[in-house]
């Protein structure tokens, strides 16, 4: 009864938005995949405990996915959307972020993102350009090194924020999942 009233009244003001459904397709290494607002091509995965000038860790290792990422959106896309676009799935012992103390389910961890060409921290992705990006997660030492990484892409929807009316990419939804062989990075 209460649910019916909510539906009826919400209809007067535009109705309830449909929740995005998760329907993942296979994600293949080397094959471009469109996960709005990006086209993502997973290239390879590596692990190391020494990222040179970027960071070193003595509490485990960094798990790295290298991918080509491009957007053909009308506006540059900010870093948080770029971070949400790629996730690790089912990998144990992942810190919430590099240098963070908390362990979280791997799909909830926020990767650090760098530009392979110059080692700079990535910020906004410019329309029409293809970047070779390095996604980095940190895994604690007590976990064994995985043989493969299970990687997921998330797509977003361009819509108005219900808080401040600004347009942005929201509603991230896993749309593809695949495995990438993991090997040790050469020094």
């Amino acid at each position: 009864m209460a649910g019916a009233v909510v539906l009826l009244v919400s209809g007067l003001f535009g109705g309830l938005r449909e929740a995005p459904a998760e329907a993942a397709v296979p994600l293949a290494v080397g094959k471009p995949h469109e996960a709005a607002p990006f086209t993502i091509t997973i290239e390879r995965a590596r692990w190391t405990s020494d990222l040179g000038e970027i960071a070193k860790t003595d509490r485990g290792r960094y798990l790295i996915v290298i991918a080509k990422v491009r957007t053909d959106a009308d506006r540059s896309v900010d870093l948080s959307t770029l971070q949400e676009a790629l996730a690790l799935r089912g990998t144990p012992g992942i810190y919430a972020a590099m240098r963070d103390e908390k362990i979280v389910p791997s799909e909830k961890a926020t990767p650090s993102v760098y530009v392979l060409a110059d080692g700079s921290r990535m910020s906004q992705l410019v329309p029409g350009l293809t970047y070779e990006l390095v996604y980095i997660w940190e895994q604690r030492e007590t976990e064994p090194v995985p043989a493969v990484l299970k990687v997921a892409t998330r797509s977003h929807t361009w819509r108005q924020s219900s808080l401040d009316d600004q347009m942005n990419w929201f509603d991230e939804t896993i749309d593809a999942v695949g495995t990438v062989p993991l090997s040790k990075a050469k020094p």
Binding site: A117, P127, E132
Partner: protein, 199 residues
Amino acid sequence: MKWPVPRRAQLGTGALVVAALSLGQVLVEHLPSSDRAGRPFENEVAIGRTVSLRTGELKVTDVDGARSVQPQRDARLMSPGVIVVVRFDFTPRVPETSITYGELRDADGRVTSLSLYGARSAISCPTPPVGITSHCTALVEADPRTLAGARLTLGPSAIDPRFDDVAVADLDISARDVTGWRNRTTPLDVASPTVAGMP
């Protein structure tokens, strides 16, 4: 089971709430959209000319570009496209103001937002005392195929340009300029921003 029967006053209050919400919805649908009503006041300016904004005077002094740039105090940047380096002067007439908002609109109408320090596309502009000029820099990555004819918008509020004065500068970039920038073999040095009269 006996359903509670609302009193007349409760029914009246409920009806008034629904009516007020409906009226609000109608107003939202018929008033100008916030995008249109809140758009910034755009002041067009050419390179070398000064434009007067609410918060001060702004002049774009120089435009250059390369695939790679070497900022004076930061690590070298290499772009899969082109990095445009725009130098501009800002002289505030309002205390504690600077230029912190920027976006590049290319020939296809695509927009790249500039951030503050630390981003690959960023504005560096000190906040000088009123009447003193800052020599500022904007770095912005762009797709070389659609860069000729690009315009740069600069404004005082990094978070939200709505309702404020902004400068829209035609950067006077030609296809020939872009080709020259792409063919540069050495990184373009970018000096740090300064305030007039200070080392």
